[in-house]
């Protein structure tokens, strides 16, 4: 049989790919990845993916060998969140695959496009409890957007094409491809489908005229409108449209946690973050608004506090989301618009008129002046909030900040005023400890010229700190700011407030010396315990041309305020120590 071998010229500096040649499944996979314009692969080899790693040897791809598969997937996630391009991760079968689970669930909850490639034992051994066999497609069904088990090498190109399409379109999410070793080794002529055809998988990107007209109509009638801008602003790339829309209609903007950076925190119409640890003005805005416009936000329980009947009690709720299942899921909605936020705002912008909202805006500004975020400064004690303010001021809000989960995460969300989209990368939905540091690696690889700061707690950092090796090995200049209060801060806060100061298992005083630990990995380590030291040390860290870990020793007893206790409503807000 003669095959016609055609060569497809690579795009964006990618190598050309030959069609029609007989190649292995492993080589097929890599050719597909080139055609999907993948540049970086995060991963960890092992028995079942040896054919793939053999094909990777000397190939075009830049592979980042993390020290744990969890590090690889969080790094791929950080890369995806920083760029909007899908992150790609490879792990071997069994334990390699199961080590991805936390990262897959993290990406699923925050709608991050990932393509996870796992190896599996040869099909002849599937179902025999073979060495390093795990049913990873079965394990990950509830936490993936979709998954594939590849049975025939001839299906592989179609599956990879579909996987990238599913991961990146509609509401983005992680897709897993499990490839048994015999498929990686099998040989077939390479072809790549031009189009994806998945029956019944369609997403409404552009909303109907009728829905947009209703959307604009309701807004025009509002006197106390507020936009609640969620992660959909960032994933649809609607930051410019949002700004134009808010300014044209004179509507103040609340950024949900996932929406931080989607609207400039320094804008005169910005109200900042609402919810459990949101600010007074943002929560009062929701309580008093007559129209809440949810844009790519899912009304989760950290904002509604799970008391959905009492949420925004005076408001008509308008909701725009690309995922129709989100409309009406958590709160009763007056107007539902199915579509991505960018297309909706593009369509609505020419129709929208200025709202009669000046009185409302004046009231909100008054609240902002009366109830800003606040904490007590002390000369000799470093306050965690002060560290975040320092990070903000020293970078003028231009850095990419990643975090774990906990107190430091909330302080970062409160005190760093994000100016740009895709500059705040944090595990919002799943709340994953150990996420922030590897995610920073992915973000820094995507943006080598930007300042990337991993703001982590002493707890979360120790879940993935072995990835310090990556900073040295690949010369990734991430700055790590450990907000070190020598305990599990958010757990301590809850135990203090709701468990009668019974501090059960939160003591982290026996952590390693983070400066020495960093040095052991060949990374510069610094420490600060007072406000004065913090300034000096941080200036040194920023000036250093390479990765730095700064151990900020902060006050242990500091709590995150304001706070709405779980089970309460937004009007039952504790403002804090001040």
């Amino acid at each position: 049989m003669s095959v016609q071998i055609a060569e497809l010229q690579g795009k964006n500096g990618l190598p050309p790919v030959k069609f029609g040649e007989e190649v292995t499944g492993a080589e097929t996979l890599l050719r597909c990845l080139i055609l999907e314009q993948v540049e970086y692969i995060f991963g960890y080899p092992g028995g079942a993916v040896l054919p793939i790693y053999d094909s990777l040897y000397g190939s075009y791809f830049k592979h980042i060998l993390t020290r744990h598969e969890q590090g690889a997937i969080h790094a791929a996630d950080g890369y995806a969140r920083a760029t909007g391009k899908p992150g790609v991760v490879i792990a071997t079968s069994g334990p390699g695959a199961t080590n991805l689970v936390t990262g897959i669930a993290t990406a699923q909850m925050d709608s991050v496009p990932l393509v996870c490639i796992t190896g599996n034992v040869p099909q002849s051994l599937i179902g025999t409890d073979a060495f390093q066999e795990a049913n990873i497609t079965g394990i990950t069904i509830p936490i993936t957007k979709h998954s594939y088990f590849v049975r025939d090498v001839r299906d592989l190109p179609r599956i990879v094409k579909e996987a990238f399409h599913i991961a990146t379109t509609g509401r983005p999410g992680p897709v897993l491809i499990d490839i048994p070793k015999d498929v990686s080794n099998a040989v077939a002529p390479f072809h790549y489908p031009e189009k994806v055809e998945i029956r019944a998988y369609k997403s409404t990107v552009v909303p109907s005229d009728e829905e947009v007209q209703k959307f604009v109509q309701v807004i025009s009638e509002a006197k106390r409108p507020v936009i609640m801008a969620g992660g959909g602003i960032i994933s649809s790339g609607a930051d410019k449209e949002l700004r134009a829309f808010a300014e044209a209609a004179r509507i103040p903007v609340i950024n949900t946690f996932m929406g931080l950076g989607g609207f400039p925190g320094v804008h005169e119409l910005s109200l900042g973050m609402p919810g459990m640890h949101g600010n007074y003005t943002a929560n009062q805005a929701l309580l008093n608004a007559d129209c809440v416009i949810g844009l790519g936000a899912r009304f989760d329980d950290r904002i509604t506090m799970g008391r959905t009947k009492e949420f925004a009690p005076k408001a008509r709720i308008v909701h725009v989301d690309i995922d129709p299942a989100e409309l009406g899921k958590n709160v009763e909605t007056a107007i539902k618009v199915t579509g991505d936020v960018k297309s909706t705002l593009e369509k609505a912008l020419p129709l929208v008129s200025r709202c009669d909202s000046e009185e409302w805006i004046a009231q909100l500004k008054k609240w902002q002046a009366e109830y800003p975020y606040s904490y007590k400064k002390e000369d000799q004690v470093l306050k965690p909030q002060e560290v975040i303010e320092l990070l903000y001021e020293s970078t003028d809000g231009e850095a990419i900040i990643t975090t774990d989960v906990g107190q430091h995460q909330m302080w970062a969300a409160q005190y760093y005023k994000f100016k740009h989209t895709r500059s705040f990368i944090s595990s919002g939905g799943l709340g994953t400890m150990g996420f922030g540091f590897p995610a920073a690696i992915g973000a820094q690889i995507a943006h080598p010229d930007r300042t990337v700061i991993a703001v982590v707690g002493d707890g979360g950092f120790q879940m993935t700190n072995q990835e310090l090796a990556i900073l040295s090995q690949y010369k990734v200049p991430v700055k790590v700011a450990i907000i070190n209060n020598q305990c599990l801060g958010m757990v301590r806060q809850w135990q203090e407030l709701f468990y009668d100061n019974r501090y059960s298992e939160i003591d982290l005083t026996c952590s390693p010396d983070f400066v020495k630990l960093s040095e052991a990995y060949g990374v510069k380590g610094l420490r600060a315990s007072t406000p004065e030291e913090a300034k000096a040390v941080w200036a040194e860290a920023l000036q250093h041309d390479g990765p730095v870990v700064v151990d900020f020793r902060v006050a242990q007893g500091e709590n995150v305020y304001p706070m709405v206790a779980a089970g309460n409503t937004l009007d039952q807000m504790v403002l804090g120590d001040e």
Binding site: T137, G138, I141, P142, K145, H146, F149, I166, I198, R199, A200, Y201, K202, D323, P324, A325, G328, K329
Partner: protein, 166 residues
């Protein structure tokens, strides 16, 4: 809580039953019965699932089902007139001498005795769930040894338009 009968047309892929069943569990729904089999189109299977929940919750469930890549259409049959059937095999403790008596009982149900043994016989019955329940009550007096039921199979009456994908 209302009962709902939902018809789901799915790609005939390995694991698709797990995906659908997992989604029910994940979203807090109980599956009362589930039947799966071929459909009018090669490569597609139809699942009939009965479950409970108020209208808003069922609406949410249907939207979530549509998010599964292998789901083609989701129809809530309970919204319109539909036909539902179940098949049951019932092993009754009875001797061949009681055959005539039992025949008289099962006949009005259009059920049939499909096996006779020395101490037991098997009744086969089709119909809606209530009818099978009623027959079971009657057979109870003889002693029921074993019951196996298919769960509901269902179809909308006359022609109803297939909903477009959400």
């Amino acid at each position: 809580m209302q009962r709902h009968t939902i018809a789901i047309l799915v790609n005939d892929q390995p694991g698709v039953l797990t995906r659908v069943a997992t989604l029910f569990g994940q979203r807090g729904f109980n599956i009362d019965s589930i039947t799966v089999g071929g459909s009018e189109e090669p490569g597609l299977s139809r699942m009939i699932i009965t479950t409970g929940g108020d209208e808003q919750k069922i609406d949410q469930l249907m939207k979530q089902l549509y998010k599964l890549i292998d789901v083609i259409t989701v129809t809530n049959l309970s919204e319109n007139a539909f036909v539902s059937r179940e098949l049951a095999l019932i092993k009754v403790s009875a001797s061949p001498s009681q055959l005539a008596e039992l025949n008289a009982i099962v006949e009005p149900f259009r059920a049939t005795i499909v096996d006779v043994g020395p101490n037991s016989l098997i009744v086969q019955v089709t119909g809606d769930t209530e009818k099978i329940d009623a027959l079971l009550v009657l057979l109870e007096t003889y002693g029921i040894i074993e019951v196996t039921r298919t769960g509901s199979m269902a179809m909308a009456r006359s022609v109803v338009p297939v909903p477009a994908s959400v």
